[in-house]
């Protein structure tokens, strides 16, 4: 057993995790279970980032997605309770047509994705943070400022939209 075999095994496990969790989000009828499957997909994605050697991005992924966005979606689920509808109208009669149309696209995308070649030279894992920070604050300082203004606008907009008119 070599070290690379562990990498391949972890990749296989994470792939199964991501695909199963995403399929769960789409197919499961109960919304809170779907939200938790989505959180699991986020965690597996963070695992993929660690496999690629981008640990900082993996931690941001967990911090932002699992820590904040999942809680936000759970709040949304809890404040909009609905009786469960029947599953019946789900895939209707178009599933075979959809499968026939998606299959060649899927094959084409698969061939395209496996045609990419990497250099085989792994970037230094530990140098990830310093390079990232230098890029963000030097080369991309203006988009960074715009992103912060965007967040401020989104926050104010969300608060204004949800505010009740208290007379």
């Amino acid at each position: 057993m070599t070290y690379d075999l562990i990498g391949a095994v972890l990749f296989a496990l994470l792939t199964i995790g991501i695909v199963a969790a995403a399929a769960g989000v789409v197919l499961i009828n109960r919304i809170t279970a779907a939200a938790l499957f989505m959180a699991f997909a986020f965690l597996c994605n963070a695992g993929m980032f660690v496999l690629l050697g981008a640990e900082t991005i993996a931690m941001f992924q967990v911090l932002i997605y699992v820590g904040a966005i999942t809680v936000l979606i759970l709040y949304g689920v809890m404040f909009t309770p609905q009786s469960e509808r029947a599953y019946g109208l789900f895939f209707q009669q178009q599933k075979w047509l959809a499968a026939i149309l998606v299959a060649p696209i899927g094959v084409a995308v698969g061939m395209l994705s496996f045609s990419f070649r990497d250099t085989g030279r792994p970037l230094a894992g530990g140098g990830d943070l310093v390079a990232l920070a230098t890029s963000v604050f030097r080369d991309f300082a203006f988009p960074f400022e715009i992103a912060s203004v965007l967040l401020l606008a989104a926050m104010i907009g969300a608060i204004v939209l949800v505010k009740r008119d208290e007379d």
Binding site: I64, I73, Q82, D128, L161
Partner: protein
């Protein structure tokens, strides 16, 4: 030999396809938002895979991923605010029923 980059891109593509299928099929607005988040995660995976493996000097892909995080968070917040205020109007989040603007 480490895992080839094509495998990561293939996983990203599968995740994106499932996200699109979810947006088209599901009727609950909150679940549609969840599937949009899945699509954004798929793009993040592809960006980081290319950034780490394609041999460029700097890590532009990872920097762009940080901006995608920011925009995804802002979008989910505003999207949920819209869904909640629509729910206050008529107590439903079924997108098939929220068509009051239709002529």
């Amino acid at each position: 030999m480490a895992v080839p980059i094509g495998a990561f891109i293939a996983v990203s593509a599968i995740l994106f396809f499932i996200g699109v299928a979810g947006v088209l099929v599901r009727r609950n607005a909150v679940v549609i938002l969840m599937c949009v988040e899945l699509m954004l995660n798929a793009t993040n995976l592809a960006l980081v895979a290319f950034s780490r493996r394609a041999g460029l000097a700097d890590e532009r892909g990872s920097v762009f991923v940080i901006f995608v995080f920011v925009i995804a968070a802002a979008e989910v917040a505003v999207g949920l605010a819209i869904v909640l205020s629509a729910y206050r109007n008529r107590p439903t989040v079924d997108v098939d029923e929220v068509h009051a603007l239709k002529g």
